[in-house]
């Protein structure tokens, strides 16, 4: 009961934040009724998915300060579990999603135990290495379709199918992922005030001090890594049902891992709203740049060049992200 109350208690934020958040939430809830184009709808669903990835990353990477560049492997595990179970045994999403989550968490414990003996750059590169190993494995594993990947054919089912999450209309997907998104916010709101959340922040500030205060640093990191993993895996399972066609290259590539970390950093790592702001800027930017410029003849790659320049400018000029700017402005106002 206390936990529930804590999770829904946003009162430590300034009122202006809450008003803005509430208005935005209402706008998001009403969005499908504004008759958006199907492209806009798909972009919004991507935005929700990447917000959830980013919120997951933010627990370990933002609050904990452990830069993890291997989150795509858990997108892959979640997506593949759901797809394989649906195609081979006709098991619905609501069963396969928790199973995928358990598998991801188990895998995260297996690799997390040795991984967290490393720090800083070494940790970051090691997470990339594990992610690439898993991707290579999936590319030759016939059971999961090897490099061709898996395809869920919607013809076999009768949309709208709420158990298997097969719909013809994007609006169903929109509200389901929106619900996951809100649940994610509530969970992170609890997490940042939980014992583990405080432990993590002290680990980020100074690991030696945290250890001397009696925090089991290694175990706290592993636990948080598992939480982050669970988030990513859930959205990965949804990804399988939504995209319906998954292959190792677009679920587990390094670019996805980097994009997840980048969003959280752009928005402001270590804050509740950071990854959401980051996803809200980067995802529409990326997909519209691709739409406008990516397909032009003679200009292949120009969208990614602009995207790369944005990454470079942010990391050089404003490494604490947009939320960092907001807080700086606020502090200046308070001082006056």
């Amino acid at each position: 009961m206390e936990t529930l109350k804590n999770a829904f208690d946003f009162s430590d934020f300034p009122r202006s934040d809450l008003v803005v958040a509430g208005v935005l939430a209402l706008a998001l809830a009403a969005f499908p009724f504004l008759s958006p184009s199907s492209f806009a709808m798909a972009t919004m669903i991507q935005f929700f998915m990447f917000s959830i990835y980013g919120m997951g990353w933010n627990t370990i990477g933002g609050y904990g300060g452990q830069v993890d560049l291997g989150k795509a492997q858990y997108v892959g595990i979640g997506a593949y579990t759901t797809a394989v179970m649906l195609i081979r045994w006709d098991i619905p999403f609501w069963v396969s999603m928790p199973v995928g989550m358990c598998l991801s968490v188990m895998w995260s414990f297996i690799i997390g135990y040795p991984l967290f003996r490393l720090k800083g750059h070494y940790f970051a590169i090691a997470t990339i290495a594990t992610s690439l190993v898993l991707k290579d494995l999936f590319e030759v594993w016939d059971f999961v379709g090897a490099a061709r990947g898996l395809e869920i054919s919607p013809i076999k089912y009768h949309p709208p199918d709420f158990l298997r999450l097969i719909f013809r209309d994007d609006i169903y997907y929109y509200y389901i992922i929106f619900a996951f998104f809100l649940a994610g916010i509530v969970y992170i709101n609890w997490f940042r005030k939980s014992r583990l959340g405080f432990q993590l922040r002290s680990i980020k500030d100074n690991e030696e001090v945290a250890r001397s205060l009696g925090i089991n640093v290694h175990w706290a990191k592993i636990k948080t890594y598992a939480i982050a993993t669970a988030f990513v895996s859930v959205a990965g399972s949804f990804h399988a049902c939504y995209i319906k066609n998954i292959e190792p290259e677009d679920t587990m590539s390094l670019d996805i891992s980097i994009l997840i970390a980048l969003m959280a950093m752009l928005g402001g790592a270590g804050s509740l709203w950071g990854p959401i702001i980051g996803a809200g800027i980067l995802i529409p930017l990326k997909s519209y740049l691709k739409e406008w410029l990516g397909a032009r003849a003679g200009l292949v790659g120009i969208d990614l060049i602009i995207y790369a320049l944005i990454i470079m400018v942010i990391s050089a000029k404003e490494p604490r992200g947009i939320w960092g700017i907001v807080e700086r402005v606020r502090r200046r106002k308070r001082r006056r």
Binding site: D136, A308, L309
Partner: protein, 304 residues
């Protein structure tokens, strides 16, 4: 037996070239504690430089190497002054993502300018020639020349680092940047020099590699990861470590060859069913993971 020996020889040859590939990464890491994701992209640009110069002028690709090195040096210094300098103030996550942005930029610029198709060199003095060592071991002349030149360059950089005044200043900066600054060493200029040497050596390696490896804009990431593994095994920041680690990693990339050797020698049925060649580089990534967990300092590292 033929397979075993030719795998070992091939592994050692590619290892010598990989040594030069990873040299720049280990110097840059040692001097300023920054991981350069764009390293493989520098290699790719070196490959393109040699390829286009050789094709346009018709001279032998090996003669264009100084140009490749010069391009890499200029690019490295330009990257430092134009971009990396600003990253050094930020937190680690910004540094990682910043160099990743640089990687994306270079890769997609190459895609925009040169197109996505594979390009390879088809002419030159050495292309197509090979030596036979007996016992079925055949060494292509291009690989042998590349390995030899790679060792020469590696030795030259090692001498520069250890026997000259400027090299000692560079080493001092990597051991203790603040201390070096107090001793009157211009550390910012040393950082730029590290990027110059790093860029120059890796584009030179690219120029050697393009003699027998086709190039496209996406070739970089593989070499970045291989270089990370080598640098991790040799110890981050250690120059001689990188050389020996590169030989080991070269042998690791030949694991499919060893696998074939065991399969045929002992005639083990199930082993021939494993699609080993598709795991060629998986072993490299796995090696990185194992090395970091078992011995984070690497073989010769002083930093952790």
């Amino acid at each position: 037996m033929d397979i075993l020996i030719s795998s070992i020889v091939a592994g050692l040859l590619i290892g010598m070239i990989l040594a030069l590939v990873s040299l720049g990464l280990t110097i840059i890491f040692g001097v300023m504690d920054i991981v350069n994701f764009a390293h493989g992209e520098f290699l790719m640009l070196g490959m393109y430089t040699t390829l286009f110069t050789a094709q346009a002028t018709g001279i032998d690709p090996l003669l264009t190497l100084p140009l490749a090195a010069l391009v890499g040096f200029a690019l490295g210094v330009a990257c430092y002054y134009g971009f990396i300098r600003f990253l050094l103030r930020g937190p680690m996550v910004a540094q990682l993502l910043g160099t990743f942005g640089l990687m994306l930029l270079l890769r997609n610029l190459a895609l925009l300018l040169f197109g996505s198709e594979d390009r390879a060199l088809h002419h030159g003095l050495l292309v197509g020639k090979s030596f036979e060592l007996g016992m079925g071991v055949i060494i292509p002349a291009t690989k042998l020349a590349a390995a030899g030149l790679s060792i020469v360059t590696f030795a030259a950089v090692w001498l520069l680092m250890n026997r000259t005044r400027i090299g000692k200043a560079l080493t001092a900066t990597s051991l203790n940047a603040q201390g070096a600054r107090y001793m009157g060493i211009p550390t910012s200029r040393m950082n730029a020099l590290a990027w110059g040497i790093g860029g120059g050596s890796v584009t030179l390696a690219g120029g050697l590699l393009v003699n027998f490896w086709s190039v496209n804009p996406f070739v970089g990431l593989l070499f970045t990861m291989i270089a990370f593994t080598i640098v991790a095994l040799g110890g981050f920041g250690s120059v001689p470590g990188a050389f020996f680690a590169a030989l080991v990693v070269g042998l690791i990339t030949e694991i499919p060859g060893f696998w074939d050797f065991v399969t045929y020698t002992f005639d083990i049925g199930w082993m021939s069913d494993v699609p080993m060649t598709s795991f060629k580089y998986t072993w490299v990534y796995l090696a990185y993971f194992v090395i970091m967990v078992v011995r984070p300092r690497g073989l010769f590292g002083w930093k952790h």
